[in-house]
Amino acid sequence: MNVKINLTINGKSYSDEVDSRTMLALYLRDELGLTGTHIGCDTSSCGTCTILVDGKAVKSCTMLAAQADGSNVTTIEGIAQNGNLHPIQEGFKEKHGLQCGFCTPGMVMLAADLLDRNPNPNEQEIRHALEGNYCRCTGYHNIVESIQYAAEKMNG
């Protein structure tokens, strides 16, 4: 069964018909070609598909595209402003917070949500916030530092 959805993704309006069982992650990847959002598991455990829906971090592999009707979605492709890296993206680059890059989009989007809720997180708060996202490359050490870097920068 198809359903009609209207939503904003990275500042652009979309009006689409999707199969009612299509997950948001697959809609982004297969229909819109926004392949920066990755899929790493089938149990919503890895967090590599994390995006922002109305500003909140959501695992897009467990949300139906139909549920996103009327919402404002931001993916990794939409977080940089005017061609400049977002401070979180910059933090990951400066502090070597990524290696293979596969979990990275989810980590960046999660960090955006965290810093929105808590602009000055300490190390334990960051580690706790990262609990739903797996990284197999970095041991999280530099991801924590990347987010600290971003927090400092965003707090000016």
């Binding site: 149990t43 455990s45 492709e77 070597h96 290696q99 596969f102 990284c135 991801i143 924590v144």
Partner: protein
């Protein structure tokens, strides 16, 4: 040096940070179809019937293939790339590993049929409509059970489930004699449990046959696309290698699991020709659990003998290595040549004997996983040492320092010849441990520990000092040991007419940052900007050949191949420069991107020389135009990184949970090109090693069903399970490669596991607990304390 030795920020990061990475599953080709592999739900069963009719009738189903189709087409199974012989000289047992099984399935997840459809969803729906009848047979998952009389047999032509038996080191009688004379023997029986690599990107493969040019393209999540091309064309599908292109684009982590040639790669290529359309297959995580080659899985008895002063006098090791149901690409070499040869460790042990039996079971194939054999060797040595220290009432750090091989640089002093077939290149083992002890504040910690115990808190400290054989590998040596391929690397340096440089490497980056590190080397050697260098890898169409990335080999072997080509460029450049400057070649020097006539200000830049090579109007007589060199580098020896890791834990008496409070790692990986990237490699390796110690482990039930095959059941370290790591380095250059580098990819995973387990055992020593099986889950630890 402008770049070498600096923490240059990574070139590749921008695309990954903006969602522009291009991983295999991101690729969409016109007319693409999607495959779903139907997998056996049983560990061992006879297929008695397959009915595909209902599925074939579904709208959107393109084709369904079964084992009968594969057999009828005469397609071979995937081969093994390493041969280990039985002690009596017989060849190892090497049963076929079919792309789709026609008769008897041998592990949960074994391929039974492939459904191809217009979309992933249709393929999956149709797969559910295929009716398969099985007659379930008895199965065995555990290596120790598989070698018992009457155990279910995996392959009819591998009696007793034996693949090979193998021995290395001093003759058994000599080692027995040394052990008989020992003052003290420490003995441990344990399992080095099976791990599931779990790169966050699931495996994926796209096969694309184009009838126009009779050309096959495979996009795949591979650590070594050229090897996959060689195997798929020469051994599996029998199609000419020059008609096959293999591309490994951005790859989301490998850790060994993406080295191997997998059945799905050959299936999509073969089937693409049958249906004349591209086919994509991407694993769901549950398929990754069932079909990515697993790691470790040794059942070991290890004994170490000491004299009255605590000097090691002998080591005896007996291991059963679970190889799974089929031989994965490098499976036989992992528990043998990558394990037995490392049992010298950092110590002067005079007599060593290791005996390994490779065993088939009804489980997922086992192969190299980060460290591959070396973590297993290190684990047994380092557990023995800490246990021996406890038993002999000695300090574990002092016991190590006493038994270390004295420092040698491999230049002034010769390399160290081990009892187990290796010649260590260079090492200063005292220095790494002393530095780690300094960082941890050892004396203070022992006081803190005593006070904490008095207050009912259980702190523990654990040591691990390791060595690994990396920079894999000298071809002649590995050839003698059973490798069916050379392990050199290829590096091509193409200087473009404008002086920009393209470098083609056979190494493959899936997180290691080659696009940055290699570019740092090239830019410095040519005296040009980092931006003017591009590193190309992962495409058999552009890179001449390559052996890929694993065994911490990329810079030591791949980087050395690039250096050889750089030298050829500079040699030719000097000829052109001499001609242009009207000077003798011997009077020139090359520095900061230009050739200068010594003692004058006459010079010509790298870019001008490059342009001259491509516009050779005024040019040395007899010299070929162009500036493009390719080199093969075959290393003279392995490289031997080493280090000292220390863990501090606190065990909760009431719950048994282990809190890792500090982790100190001092590693020596030789010279370092990019410290930031090396640190990152250490962090990641340490986290995986801690994962083995505390969290991870595949569990099979008595029917050989994998019962923790999902992220809900298989535990990996999350951010708040780990502390911030405290790391440092010493530098003992490798004496036999031009960059003096040793490799850093596996160090963390090799050193960390025993440090953590030793720390927990130290914390539990008041309870009289000496040995516990990994992972050290709260339940296991709590039970041990009762």
């Amino acid at each position: 040096m402008t770049y070498i030795g600096k923490s240059v920020k990574r070139v590749e990061d921008k695309r990954f940070l903006t969602g522009k990475g291009r991983y295999t599953d991101d690729i969409v080709l016109p007319g693409m179809t999607y495959a779903c592999i139907i997998r056996s739900p049983y560990a061992h069963a006879k297929i008695t019937g397959i009915d595909t009719s209902a599925a074939e009738g579904m709208e959107g189903v393109v084709a369904i293939f079964t084992g009968k189709d594969i057999a009828a087409a005469g397609v071979n199974g995937v081969p093994c790339g390493w041969q280990v012989n039985f002690k009596n000289g017989d060849t190892m047992k090497e049963p076929p590993h079919p792309l789709l099984v026609a008769d008897v399935v041998k592990h949960v997840g074994d391929n039974v049929a492939m459904v191809i459809a217009e979309s992933r969803e249709i393929a999956k729906d149709a797969a559910e409509m295929v009716e398969i009848d099985y007659e379930e047979l008895d199965a065995v998952a555990n290596a120790a059970k598989a070698v018992k009389d009457g155990a279910p047999q995996v392959h009819p032509d591998a009696p007793g489930n034996l693949c090979f038996d193998w021995e290395l080191g001093n003759p058994k009688e000599e080692v027995d004699a040394a052990m008989d004379a020992a003052h003290h023997i420490t003995k441990l029986d344990f399992t080095n449990q099976r791990l599931i690599p779990n790169a966050i990107e699931p495996r994926s493969a796209i096969g694309h046959y184009e009838s126009a040019g009779d050309k096959y393209t495979l996009y795949t999540t591979s650590q070594n696309p050229h090897l996959t091309r060689l195997l798929i064309s020469a051994f599996v599908l029998g199609i000419p290698e020059h008609r096959v292109r293999v591309v490994a684009p951005d790859v989301g982590g490998g850790f060994g699991s993406k080295i191997f040639h997998y059945t799905e790669e050959a299936l999509v290529v073969w089937a693409s020709k049958q249906i004349n359309r591209p086919i994509k297959w991407t694993a769901e995580r549950s398929e990754s659990f069932m079909t990515d080659a697993h790691g470790r899985d040794h059942v070991t008895t290890a004994e170490m003998g000491f004299d009255a002063e605590g000097n090691i006098v002998g080591l005896r090791v007996n291991t059963l290595a679970n190889l799974g149901a089929y031989l994965s690409t490098f499976a036989p070499c992992v528990p043998t040549w990558l394990h037995g040869t490392l049992l010298q460790g950092l110590y002067t042990t005079p007599k060593i004997n290791v005996d390994v039996t490779g065993v088939f079971t009804h489980t997922t194939p086992v192969d190299a996983y980060r460290g591959a054999g070396r973590p297993e060797a290190t684990y047994l040595l380092e557990r023995l040492l800490d246990t021996a220290a406890l038993e002999m009432n000695m300090d574990p750090a002092e016991l190590r320092l006493k038994n270390f091989i004295p420092p040698f640089d491999g230049v002034e002093q010769e390399g160290y010849a081990t009892q187990v077939a290796l010649q260590y290149d260079s090492g200063n083992y005292h220095r790494v441990l002393e530095r780690a002890l300094e960082m941890v504040g050892y004396d203070d910690f022992r006081k803190e520990q005593a006070e904490a115990r008095a207050n009912g808190k259980y702190l523990g400290i654990g040591f691990s000092t390791y060595i690994e054989a990396c920079g894999i590998a000298p071809s002649a040596v590995v050839g003698a040991l059973g490798a069916r391929a050379g392990l050199y690397e290829v590096g091509q340096v193409r200087v473009q007419p404008t002086g920009k440089v393209s470098v083609y490497t056979g190494a493959h980056s899936h997180g290691q940052g080659h696009e940055t590190t290699f570019a740092q080397v090239v830019a410095d050697k040519f005296g040009i900007a980092l931006d003017d260098v591009e590193i190309v890898h992962g495409d058999s169409e552009s890179v001449a050949f390559g052996m890929g990335t694993y065994g911490s080999r990329s810079l030591a072997v791949g980087g050395s191949a690039i250096i050889k080509s750089i030298e050829k460029v500079l040699e030719k450049g000097a000829k052109i420069a001499a001609h242009k400057l009207e000077a003798a070649e011997g009077d020139l020097e090359f520095a900061e991107g230009k050739w200068t006539v010594k003692g004058t200000d006459k010079s010509i830049g790298f870019g001008d020389v490059a342009l001259t090579a491509y516009v050779p109007h005024d040019y040395p007589e007899g010299l070929e135009p162009g500036m493009d060199f390719s080199s093969f580098y075959d290393p003279a020896n392995f490289t031997y990184p080493f280090g000292a890791h220390i863990a501090i834990v606190e065990v909760d008496k009431d719950t048994g949970s282990v809190k890792l409070k500090r982790f100190i790692a001092v590693d020596d990986v030789g010279n370092v090109i990019n410290p930031m990237i090396v640190d990152g490699q250490i962090h990641g390796g340490v986290a995986q090693g801690i994962g083995q110690a505390l969290f991870e482990g595949a569990i099979y039930d008595e029917n050989a069903q994998l019962i923790n095959g999902s992220y809900m059941d298989y535990t990996m370290p999350r951010a708040d399970d780990l502390p911030a790591f405290e790391i440092d380095r010493t530098v003992t250059p490798c004496p036999h490669n031009p960059l003096g580098v040793k490799g850093a990819g596996e160090a963390g995973a090799i050193g960390s596991t025993p440090a953590v387990v030793n720390a927990v055992m130290d914390a539990l020593s008041p309870f009289g607990v000496k040995n516990l099986e990994m992972p050290l889950t709260p339940e296991r630890v709590w039970r041990a304390m009762q």
